[in-house]
Amino acid sequence: MNLTLILFIVLAAVAVLSALGLLVSRSAIYAALFLVLNFATVAVFYLLLGAPFIAIVQVTVYAGAIMVLFLFVIMLLGAEKLPRAEGLPWQRPLAIGLAAILLVEALYLLLGRLQLSASLGNPSSAANSTDALAELGRTLFSQYLLPFEVTSILLLVAMIGAIVLTKKEKGEAQ
């Protein structure tokens, strides 16, 4: 039981509890803040896994940009609380049962093929994180250059799509 394992267990508890908070909180604002907490803990997981760049991107893009967008839309629409809709009576137990089955299946598939004590790979490559970062950039801009460019087109299309979607309605209303 060393320090890293203790840190991992505490973070895992925080991550799972904040996900539960997202699941049960009545107010959408609280749900969004729970999700920010979850993203922050997952970013620390990424640091533990030797991926500092991804951790920083997680904090800036996910916990920063995306969640601010979410909070903005929640407050814009005034959708903090929806009136409780009565769902189908059998929906909740069925959903929980199916989710439990999925969890068991996922754990069986993910862990059944591995030795439970399989430790993570050799840290030597990731120990020097600047080298790993340079290697990441080199791979991204050589081997994965085409997907990278396609991603930029995807972002452009999404941006134009969002603008067109929200603007058209305004023109019709006037």
Partner: protein
């Protein structure tokens, strides 16, 4: 020292987060929270990606996580725009009201 945590622990956390995302999609009626649950599932998949990437000592997992994040950002932009549109036409965003294709 760095590798004190076995790969399986990360996979367990990832599976738990993913299942909670599924439950959020199935149980909640607020489309914004359903959307957040989808983000939670993407995040769980990213965690599994990075754990395997570290375990097999290849960098490809990190690159794919990078792509998943960009796609998630694009998805959020378009999805939230759609939710705003639905709110403008129906004056509510309860998913139970979204049962017709002609707004």
């Amino acid at each position: 020292m760095i590798n004190a945590v076995p790969l399986s622990y990360y996979l367990i956390v990832s599976a738990a987060l993913f299942v909670m995302g599924i439950l959020g999609v199935l149980l909640r009626r607020n489309p914004l929270i359903i959307f957040m649950s989808i983000e939670l599932m993407l995040n769980a998949a990213n965690l599994a990606f990075l754990a395997f990437s570290r375990s097999f000592n290849v960098l490809t997992g990190q690159i794919f996580v990078f792509f998943v994040m960009t796609v998630a950002a694009a998805e959020v932009a378009v999805g939230l725009a759609l939710i705003v549109i639905i709110f403008r036409t129906k004056h509510s965003i309860n998913v139970d009201l979204m049962n017709s294709l002609k707004g």
